[in-house]
Symmetry: none
Subunit: 534 residues, 2 copies
Amino acid sequence: MNTVKIYDTTLRDGTQAEELNLTTQDKVRIALKLDELGVQYIEGGWPGSNPTDRQFFEEIQKHDFQNSIIAAFGSTYNPKGTPETDAIFQSLLESNARVLTIFGKTWDMHATLALGIGEQENVDLIHESIAYLKPHVDELFFDAEHFFDGFRNNKEFSLNCLAAAHEAGADVLVLCDTNGGSLPADVAEAIKAVRKRLPEAQIGIHTHNDSELAVANSLEAVRQGARHVQGTVNGYGERCGNANLCSIMPNLELKMGYSCIGADKLGKLTEVSHFISEIANLRPFLRQPFVGASAFAHKGGVHVSAVRKDSKTYEHIEPGLVGNRQRILLSDLSGRSNMLTKAEQFGHPLQKDDPRLDKLMKELKLRESMGFEYSVAEASFELMFHKIVSGQHLNYFKLLNFFVMDAKREEDAEPTSEATVMVEVGDQIEHTAATGMGPVNALDRALRKALERFYPSLNQVRLLDFKVRVMSGAVRDTGGTASFVRVLIESGDGFERWTTVGVSHNIIEASWQAVVDSINYKLFRDDQRAIGKA
Amino acid sequence: MNTVKIYDTTLRDGTQAEELNLTTQDKVRIALKLDELGVQYIEGGWPGSNPTDRQFFEEIQKHDFQNSIIAAFGSTYNPKGTPETDAIFQSLLESNARVLTIFGKTWDMHATLALGIGEQENVDLIHESIAYLKPHVDELFFDAEHFFDGFRNNKEFSLNCLAAAHEAGADVLVLCDTNGGSLPADVAEAIKAVRKRLPEAQIGIHTHNDSELAVANSLEAVRQGARHVQGTVNGYGERCGNANLCSIMPNLELKMGYSCIGADKLGKLTEVSHFISEIANLRPFLRQPFVGASAFAHKGGVHVSAVRKDSKTYEHIEPGLVGNRQRILLSDLSGRSNMLTKAEQFGHPLQKDDPRLDKLMKELKLRESMGFEYSVAEASFELMFHKIVSGQHLNYFKLLNFFVMDAKREEDAEPTSEATVMVEVGDQIEHTAATGMGPVNALDRALRKALERFYPSLNQVRLLDFKVRVMSGAVRDTGGTASFVRVLIESGDGFERWTTVGVSHNIIEASWQAVVDSINYKLFRDDQRAIGKA
C-alpha cells in the first residue's frame, strides 16, 4: 500500500510551542485551511482540558470539510475512578468528534512514576479506555506515549501496552517519540519488533525534534511500514517542536514514491505554511526547508550563473511543486546575470547589451560599497531599478525639513522625543508634529501624520521590524558611534511585506531613508494594483 | 576508530546564508570562539574570491589557536589555463593556511554544463589540482561537489573523480550533498560503494538541509564509516542552511558513542551558539534543538509536574551537558549555580544561602524580562553585581540633564546632530555641548568631553561596536519603531575590551545606558588596576 495518511496536530500539540497562542477563531481558520491542503485528519484539541478547545469542537460543527476529519485528543481515564466518573474522559464523547486519539503510558518508569500504578494495571487501563470509547466513534487511534523510551527500557511491557490497545480495537498504534531523543536506527528496530509481535496492526508515528531528527525518524518509520504520520505545520510544538509536515509531505510525495495529500494539493504547501504563521503571528523561518523564503534563494555568483543555465544544478526539486519560487539575491558577490533575472521579474526585461544595465550595475556597486544591502531590502532595490530603467522617480512627496528633539531632564527620567516635519505634495504644504518613543518613532509618526491627508492608504502600513547594524568595516577614529549605520525596516499592509534600507553616519538619516522608501514603495504598489500589474 | 573530526564552515559556507554578513573582525572573533569550543578545523573562507576573506587570512596569523586548525577553501584551477596562471587558485597558497579544501565537480551533467569540459578532463583536473597543492600543505581535503546527485546519475564517473583525488593525495574525500536533496538511505548506499571502490580512503560528509535531513544524513554517514563531518554553527548556510553542528556534535557524543570535541567542551555549546548569533546580529531560533531557549522549556501542566518529579520524563538529555538549562515557563527557576561561579570570578565568592544571592537572582530575572541580555554584556552585569553585593554604586558622575537635536533642513542635505550634557562630579558641575554624526555620537562626545576634565584616562576609550536589536516579543500596535530596543556597545582602551547593554523604548535612552555603563566600567577597572586587582 503506497498511501500514507497525514494526521495534523498543529491545533493541539503545536500550541504547546512557547510562542504559540491561538484563539478559538484562529483554530477554526487554520482547520479550514488544513482542509484545503487535504490532510486526512485534523486534531482539534483536548476537549476537556480547556475552554478554547471545548469551544472549538462546538464551533467546528458549523463548518463543512471536504477532505479532512476532525479528531479529538484525550488520555486514558483516571485510574482512581471509572470511565463514567472521569469528566474529562467523558468530554471526548461530548465533543461529537468521529475520530478519537487516546494516549496512554507505554514506558514502565513513566507509568509507575507519573500515574503511580502497577504495570498490569496500566495495560488494563489502556484496554478498558479504548474498549469503552471505540463503539461510539468511526476510528480510534492509540498514541503510545514515550514508546521508544519504553521499548529501550522494557520491551515486553511496552509491547504489551500496544497489544492491549490493538485487542481493544484501536485502528492505529501510533508510536510516539515523546521526548524526541530517538535516532532513526532506534525507530527502525522498534517498529520491526512491533510488526513481529502484532503483524495485523496498523502502525503510526509521532515524533519530536529535540535531536533535529523528527523528519528523518518519521520517514524511517514509513520505510518500516508506518502508514499514518502525525506532525504539525512548520514543526510548531513544545520544546524543539513536532515533526514538520511541511518537510515530511514533500519528501514522501516527491522522493519516496508515496501518496499522502497528492501532488496537486502539495502546490498549496507554501501558502498554507505562511497563512498559519500569519494567523499565529510568528515570524516565518527564512531557512525553512521547501517553504521558506530562502529555500530556493541563491546568493553566490558561481551558483547564480549555474542556476540560470539549469536550475537543477543547485535546486533539489522544482520550487513550484511546493508552491515556492526561486529568488536570486543581490550581493556584491554576484554579477550581471542576477540583474537580468531581476529585470524580468520587475516586468522590464533588459538585453545583455542595454546601456542601462551598466548604469544599474555601477549604481548598485557604488551603493553596496557605501553599505546598502539590497539582498534583503528588495523594495529599495526595486525603487532604484525603476528610477534608472524607466526614469520613474517614484517620489510621492518632497521633504522641506524636519527637526527631532530628545531631552532627558534628570538622571532617572525617561527621555522624551518629539519631531516636526514639513512636506510638499503637489502644490500643498503640510507642517505637523508628533511625539514618539524615541527619535525614529517620533519622526515616522510625524511623517505619516503629514502624508495620510494625501494618501489615506498609508494607514494600512505597519512597521513590522526595525534592524540597525553598525558596519565596523567603516569604523573611523572617532569610534563606533560615528561609524556607518545601516537601518533595515520591514513593513506590511495586509497584502504583502517589504523591506527597505537606509545608510548614513547618522542613524536618524539612515532611518529616514528607509522610512521614505517604505512609504514610496507602498504607494507604488498601490498604483500597480490599481492598473492590475501586481 | 571512535573519533569524528569536526570541520566548521560557518565562516565560508555559513556566510552564504541570506541574512548573514560578517566583517573581517567578526570572522576573527568567531574563529577564536570556535577554537574555544574545540572543533578540529575552521574553514576561514575562499581567499581569492573577495577582500574580506583575504584580510581574514592575514589577520588570523596574528592569533594563537589552541585546538583548531584554520583551513582555506578553493576550487580546482580554471581549466582554460594552468595552476600557475589561475590567480584565485594561487591565492590558496598565499593564504599560508596549513590545510586546504578543494572542491571539484563529481556530477557528470554539472561538469559538462558548468565547466564545459569532458568527463576525463574533469577527472584529470581534480588530480592535477590536488597533486599541485598537496606538497605545500599539511593536509588537503577534497570536497566532492554534488557527489550524491552524481552517484545517482553516473556511478562510474563520480567514483572515478574520487579515485583521482585519492590517488593525487587528498587526505579525506568529503562527499557533498550540495543540493540537500538526498535521503539517509541514498547516503548509506553511496558510501558503501565508495568504501568498496576505495577501501583505504578516509570519508567525510558535507550536507545541506533542503530536505530537513542534513543532521540525519551526516549521522548516517558516520554510521557508514565517515570520520570527518562538515557543518556550521546553528546550521547557517545557503538556502535552508548547512548541517547543524550544534545538533550533530551532541548526537555523536551523547547518543552514538563517538568522540568529537569531548564531553567537557560540549558544555560550551549553547554559549558558542548564542555568541555567534549575536555577532551575526541574527535572532536566535527559539526552537533550535539542544541549544535553543525553548529546547528544555516546559509549558504544559502535565509535563511540568512530571518534569519536576523527574526531568528524564520529558527531556531526552540533561540540558547542562550542552550548556543549556531547563526552563519552566511562567514560573520562577533559574541557575543559581551560574551566579555562584560568577561571584567567584568577580572576587566576591558567595555562600549558597547568602541572602544577596536571592537579591541578585531577582534583579537578574527582572532585567532579563525587560530584555537585558547579560550573556554578552558582562561588563554591565559586573556593575550590577557589585552594586548589589558590595553596595558599591560605581557611579563616577551624576547626570543633571541632556538635550539632543537633529535637524534636516532640505531633502538632499545631511541632517546635523548636536547634544548638550550637564553632569556633576563631586561638587563640580560641567555643562558642555558637542556635535556628532547622529544623535548617539553627539551625546557620547558631549558626555566624554564633560568628563575628561575629571578623568583624563577616558580619552583612551574607543567605542568599537554598536549593535541595535528590536525585540519582537515587545512589538506594540504602533509598530516596529515603537518597540523595545536593546543596544549593545563594545568598548576598548588598549588593555581590554568590554561590552555593555541598555534597553528602552527609546534608542537614545538605551544607548545612553550602555554608554554610561561603558564609562563607569572603564573607571572601575582603572581603580582595580591601581590597587593591583586586575
